[in-house]
Amino acid sequence: MPAVAKRVKNLPPYLFARIERLIAEKRAAGVDVISLGIGDPDEPTPEHIREEAKRQLEIPENHRYPTSVGLPAFRQAVARYYARRFGVELNPEREVVTLIGSKEGIAHIAWCYLDAGEVALVPDPSYPVYAGGTILAGGEPYYLPLLPENGFLPRLEDVPTEVARRAKILFLNYPNNPTAAVASSSFFAEVVAFAREFDLLVCHDAAYVEVAFDGYRPSSFLATPGAKEVGIEFGSLSKPYNMTGWRLGWAAGKEEAVEVLGRLKSNIDSGVFQPIQYAGIKALDGPQECVKEMNALYQLRRDLAVAAFREMGWKIDPPKATFYLWLPVPSGFTSESFAEYLVEEAGVVVTPGTGYGRHGEGFFRVSLTLPTERLQEALVRMKRVLGKVSF
């Protein structure tokens, strides 16, 4: 059999093989393993959204091919959302494209802008698709460390000039997975200036912009003056509306980037099943109580978890957004050995920070997307095996 292509071989190796094996062993041995590893909301999609999909899938027109760039009605709903929520004006025809989940656009934007050997600036740690898409397109990620002392924001002034000149894309993501950090509008303004100076496309991933606590409302990158000329933003229905399985998102902003993503897509797929797009419209336009309720639930879990970790000796501030906690591992552990220890001793799964890049070493991520009792049980078990930790 002839071999598979090199581009796939160049993808970063899957890091968690050992832990996965451990988990499988534990489960096989009858241990009730609790996972704090998965970033997938545990509650189903709100009923009014599901009902809209059910209604729409009766309509014969919706059994036909959608267009790859998406229903005008969906793109208009996205534009309304931006206007209402962020005061950002978008032309739904030219500045919004529908995606099969925001991941699709994140993965394919590198295809649109990078030729072989060209550079994308990728935060480290970060969601693996920024580097993955870059590598699949034959480009080279240049990593920007996200460090606790900088509030997990990249220091753009530290990017060597010759690298910034060679780079064509800058990936960013706030509120951030995995660090739960948020960005201020002054940071976004700095990003716009940097992008102008070095002629870069900013690709901002706003997957968690609606998942926030204590009254904090994260802003869109596109609300920054000048942002639409230098960047696009990826939005997702997945997290705020518990719609991960539906695969619906969008890219919005700079017209050229939106157009070329749409053109690329027309050669890869034929768009999103229309009832799913109508469900998305319902989600965006409909009552937002469901989002508030989910956030209240995550906030409660966050508070439980923060209190428990503080009791064990962690000095942490409750995160303002996302449903993650990003914590340092206790002394004597690496990210991976700590995660393995917890599986082994407590039957609890956390994600080693190294899964998100080299600078994730020394950290682990806890996800709050599991039933509250399960989270409590996991915390009790961790307390039992860890006692008091030191750093």
Binding site: G133, D199, I276
Partner: protein
Amino acid sequence: MRGLAERAQKLSPSPTLSVDTKAKELLRQGEKVINFGAGEPDFDTPEHIKEAAKRALDQGFTKYTPVAGILPLREAICEKLYRDNQLEYSPDEIVVSCGAKHSLYNALQVLLNPGDEVIIPVPYWTSYPEQVKLAGGVPVFVPTTPENDFKLRPEDLRAAVTPRTRLLILNSPANPTGSVYRREELIGLAEVALEADLWILSDEIYEKLIYDGMEHVSIAALDPEVKKRTVVVNGVSKAYAMTGWRIGYAAAPRPVAQAMINLQSHSTSNPASVAQAAALAALKGPQEPVESMRQAFQKRRDFIWQHLNSLPGVRCPKPLGAFYVFPEVSGLLGRRLKGREIASASDLALFLLEEIKVATVAGAAFGDDHYLRFSYALRLEDIEEGMQRFKELLEAAL
């Protein structure tokens, strides 16, 4: 702002859809357009499939699923491949994607290195060349002829192979020609593929729409050695009138399937959960709706094919599958019709749309602009009306 990547600059939008869009625009303006442009069944998705989707929604089946699709769906695909195609695959050799188009894309991405040549018989489905180029491959077009029912012969394939050739794309039943390869013909092609150490990408999306007692043969089923180098692509779009739902799949040797899953985990993740539930119902449920659609298509084909062949300057072999007729219209080209210069099938298609509101797709979209593609995925009355308009136009113009 510095430019786009080279591959993005070269990218063209999918052309068959743009014709369709134009026709739809006229329709919106209230014109009675007869649309022979559609690439999808005009039937509705069968009831039991919609019900399964609604049940899945009621049950809150709305979260991420495994990237390759839920196990029961992959098992159902294995059963289908075994039952219908005598192909034995295990569920970890199946990858469910967002339509067969997406499956083809993923397969090409994991099989091609930059500079690899890919043999594409002409006429071809319009997305193949762009998808090959997106994977860095070089399309090598090999013409076929109506005399040979638009089928690639082993000697054509052999003559096109170079040391750089890596893959052959086969599509049977075919879009746009409706040709169907017979077992002996596939054996001849497979022999060349083995000799030349080629991958075969076998697009079998029209499998169920096949007429006159023809049998669909998957090239992968010929021999284990052939199966080892073949990626079979199929889906639910055409057989179950589910084009909108976006579920297709590939069956491939394990390392290829795993590479495709890895790739998909970096792009779209799982195909929509609700559509997976619907596809499962389609594959496991009653198959009568497929047969009744097939019979309806066959009736329409008989009518349209006879009719087209009776027109001056138009001729076509009888299609045995899919829902397209692909007549050669060379006899109408290089003339003035109603004062207009008709140099190519593209000119003719535009002429037909503007003069008699009949939408077709010019052969340019499929690699040869001496042909028009007529889809018969529309009501028989509309086909009759369209043929009547075409006939009258030619009588008046010639």
